[in-house]
């Protein structure tokens, strides 16, 4: 290299000025942004995800709510009432049941959100003008989900009966209304929002914190360079995983205690079922989330990516699980996604135990879903976890 060339390669020693320095920084940031695919994906994916979920999936006026029917009368008036309810689009009759116990069971398990009981001799009593009582039970754990359907109910049954009662029974029709609608808002008669939110919050808090803790677990070791020597030690992947998850189960336990305590003492949310069962299943749920976070941890290349993945997972969990918006208000595809998410099942479990006093038998499907989820996430994490650096 000649002396002249060396001189020109040195900085001129002039102050390049504010704009040029800013420009230098801007160029560097853009280059780095382009390299970081995950951040790039976040920038595009987050708005699309939010638009889809908020725009298409959320609906606070749910239709086709599963309704169980117990009819002890099968006259034309009964049929007219049922037909009118069905035609209103608010109710979808899932099953004719034979006894009230079955009706209760369906409401407890969440298989039905409404139950209609039409008493024996309904037909006769209406035509006589005795104003028989029509019992409608709504699962009011989520007041929003059943609100509009309840509001529509009185009017639509009334109209249906009046249509049937023309002619010889016109006299009955003239008086208003020909029946007494007994509406029971079961589990949450006062329609208190906190009854619905606080048990749900237990799930949301556990999801958010548990997942975040373990999502960082493996990536932190990789980023700090401790992974390499950890892998060279005589410790198995499953031992590393359990060792990393276990401490946070304890953290989850503390969080549970705080939330359940607050639910009971601050928000006056009843705990009708077994506290022990609630704690047990919350622990199962916490473990499932820890396993998901750990799986993310084995996929992500750095801690930032792990946090981004957690966020991607958290967003649909909170929107599609029935925590913020009624589950049954969502279109079919969103409900299918919702069924895959652990929070959806835990939401039902927590509300079920606290508000409905459910036992294990009422929620076996949801518990099974959580167990499957836990096993699948752990299995995936172990598959993903490389014992070598290949």
């Amino acid at each position: 290299m000649s002396a002249a060339a060396q001189d020109s390669a040195r900085p001129a020693g002039r102050d390049p000025g504010f704009l040029k320095r800013v420009w230098a920084m801007v160029v560097k940031e853009f280059v780095q942004m382009r390299r970081d695919r995950m951040t790039f994906a976040t920038m595009l994916f987050i708005p699309i995800l939010q638009l889809t979920l908020f725009g298409y999936a959320i609906n606070t006026d749910p239709k086709h709510l599963p309704t169980a029917v117990l009819t002890r009368d099968d006259g034309p008036l009964t049929r007219a009432v049922l037909a009118a309810m069905k035609n209103s689009d608010y109710f979808a009759f899932t099953r004719q049941v034979r006894d009230p116990a079955e009706l209760d069971a369906m409401l407890r398990s969440g298989a039905a959100q409404f139950a209609v009981e039409i008493p024996a001799s309904f037909e006769r009593d209406v035509r006589r003008g005795d104003r028989p009582s029509l019992l409608v039970i709504a699962d009011a754990t989520d007041p929003v989900a059943t609100g509009t359907a309840i509001a529509a109910m009185q009017g639509l049954i009334d109209t249906a009966l009046r249509r049937e009662l023309r002619g010889p029974d016109a006299a009955v029709e003239a008086r208003a209304p020909p029946f007494a609608l007994t509406l029971q808002r079961r589990y949450n008669p006062e329609g208190l929002t906190q009854y619905n939110i606080v048990p749900g919050l237990l799930g949301v808090v556990l999801t958010m914190t548990m997942m975040m803790f373990t999502a960082l677990a493996v990536t932190r070791e990789i980023e700090r360079g401790t992974m390499e020597s950890l892998l060279a030690m005589p410790i198995r992947p499953v031992e590393i995983m359990i060792g990393k998850i276990a401490p946070f189960v304890l953290v989850g336990f503390v969080q549970m205690t705080i939330i359940i305590g607050a639910a009971s003492y601050l928000f006056d949310v009843p705990i009708r079922g077994s506290v022990g069962l609630l704690v047990l299943l919350s622990t199962l749920f916490a473990a499932a989330n820890l396993a998901v976070g750990y799986t993310f941890s084995t996929v992500a290349e750095n801690q930032l990516q792990a946090v981004q993945m957690t966020f991607f997972f958290f967003l649909p969990n909170i929107l599609l699980s029935g925590f913020m918006f009624p589950f049954r208000g969502m279109p079919q595809w969103a409900q299918v996604i919702g069924e895959i998410l652990p929070l959806t099942h835990f939401m039902r479990i927590a509300r079920g135990i606290m508000l409905k006093g459910n036992g294990l038998a009422d929620m076996r499907l949801d518990v099974l879903a959580l167990v499957i989820f836990l096993v699948a996430a752990m299995g995936l994490a172990l598959l993903r976890f490389r014992r070598t650096l290949d």
């Binding site: 360079g225 401790t226 390499e228 950890l230 060279a232 030690m233 005589p234 410790i235 650096l389 290949d390």
Partner: protein
């Protein structure tokens, strides 16, 4: 009497994609020896160490470490080999004691607390046991990492550039420790860039572009190279170096402080080129010198570059 062999591998090959990082490498390291592993950055030293301790699976080749098959008995190897990574790999947010106790527990050392306490005393860190590992200076970090490595009593140590960025005194102490470990019968395979360290090894292997190019003791390597070196002193050495470089017969020109080492393999051509240079400019003092290990390695590296690029 033949010495017991600690590492015995043949034809090790490792590819990342279509890039061959280690190519057909064979290595025998006798028990209790300090074996130096040299080579430029990216030559495959770290990859080889990782292949030996089971962190990577070779694409071809076979062999044993401490008698355990590197392909099938990786769990045994993990238990008996101490691997010290290039980057500090203890937990910076754990204290010295906590780090050592963790290692002791993972390896199933009986009474981890006592074992850690003993290691701390040996390291001369008593009184600083509760200090966070991340707060230690570079030299202490390396000594602690070595201490953690030998805590479970391994029979083989794989050290990947253990003294990179460490001051000379700390390096000296580190190497004293390595020598006393070898005296106890522990085999040490250590990669390094420092020539003074290379000279402290019992035997050396030079690797470049994944190929093992030369091995032997430092003296053997210098003798094998057939290199002749002239040492020049005087004014304007930088300009002289510019002029001499790439002349026929001159293999290499390297500045060493106020001297210039001019070396070549073809002794006749080298002497001729130097006679030429003396004629051009009488201001310099030329003397015959001994080629250093560094001269040998730089020459080896230049040659491989010609072969592989």
């Amino acid at each position: 009497m033949t010495k017991e062999i600690a590492i015995d591998v043949h034809g090790l090959t490792k590819k990342f994609g279509d890039r061959t990082v280690v190519h057909d490498l064979s290595l025998q390291v006798p028990k209790g020896e300090i074996y130096g592993f040299l080579g430029p950055n990216g030559s495959g030293k770290t990859t080889t160490l990782r292949l030996l301790c089971g962190l990577l699976t070779p694409d071809a080749g076979e062999g044993t470490c401490l008698g355990y098959d590197i392909l099938t008995q990786q769990d045994e190897i993990r238990r008996h080999v101490g691997y010290m990574t290039q980057r500090f790999s203890l937990y910076t947010d754990l204290s010295i004691r906590e780090n050592l106790e963790f290692v002791a527990r993972v390896y199933g050392v009986p009474n981890p607390r006592e074992a850690a306490k003993g290691a701390i005393a040996r390291l001369g860190l008593t009184g600083r046991a509760e200090q966070l590992a991340g707060e230690l200076s570079g030299g202490w970090k390396q000594r602690l990492a070595l201490g953690a490595c030998i805590l479970p009593n391994p029979q083989l140590l794989l050290l990947d550039e253990p003294t990179a960025g460490v001051d000379p005194k700390a390096r000296r102490e580190f190497w004293d420790e390595i020598h006393s470990l070898a005296a106890e019968g522990i085999t040490v395979l250590v990669s390094t860039h420092y020539m003074d360290e290379a000279e402290r090894c019992h035997e050396l292997a030079y690797i470049a572009f994944g190929n093992l190019l030369a091995r032997g003791t430092a003296h053997e390597l210098i003798a094998q190279s057939g290199l002749r070196t002239w040492v020049v002193s005087g004014p304007g050495l930088h300009d002289l170096a510019m002029r001499l470089d790439h002349r026929d017969g001159i293999g290499m020109v390297a500045p060493f402080g106020n001297e210039l080492h001019v070396s070549g393999r073809d002794h006749k051509k080298l002497d001729a080129a130097i006679a030429e240079a003396k004629k051009e400019d009488g201001a310099h003092r030329w003397t015959r010198g001994e080629p250093s290990l560094e001269d040998v390695f730089i020459l080896l590296m230049d040659q491989v570059k010609d072969n592989f690029q």
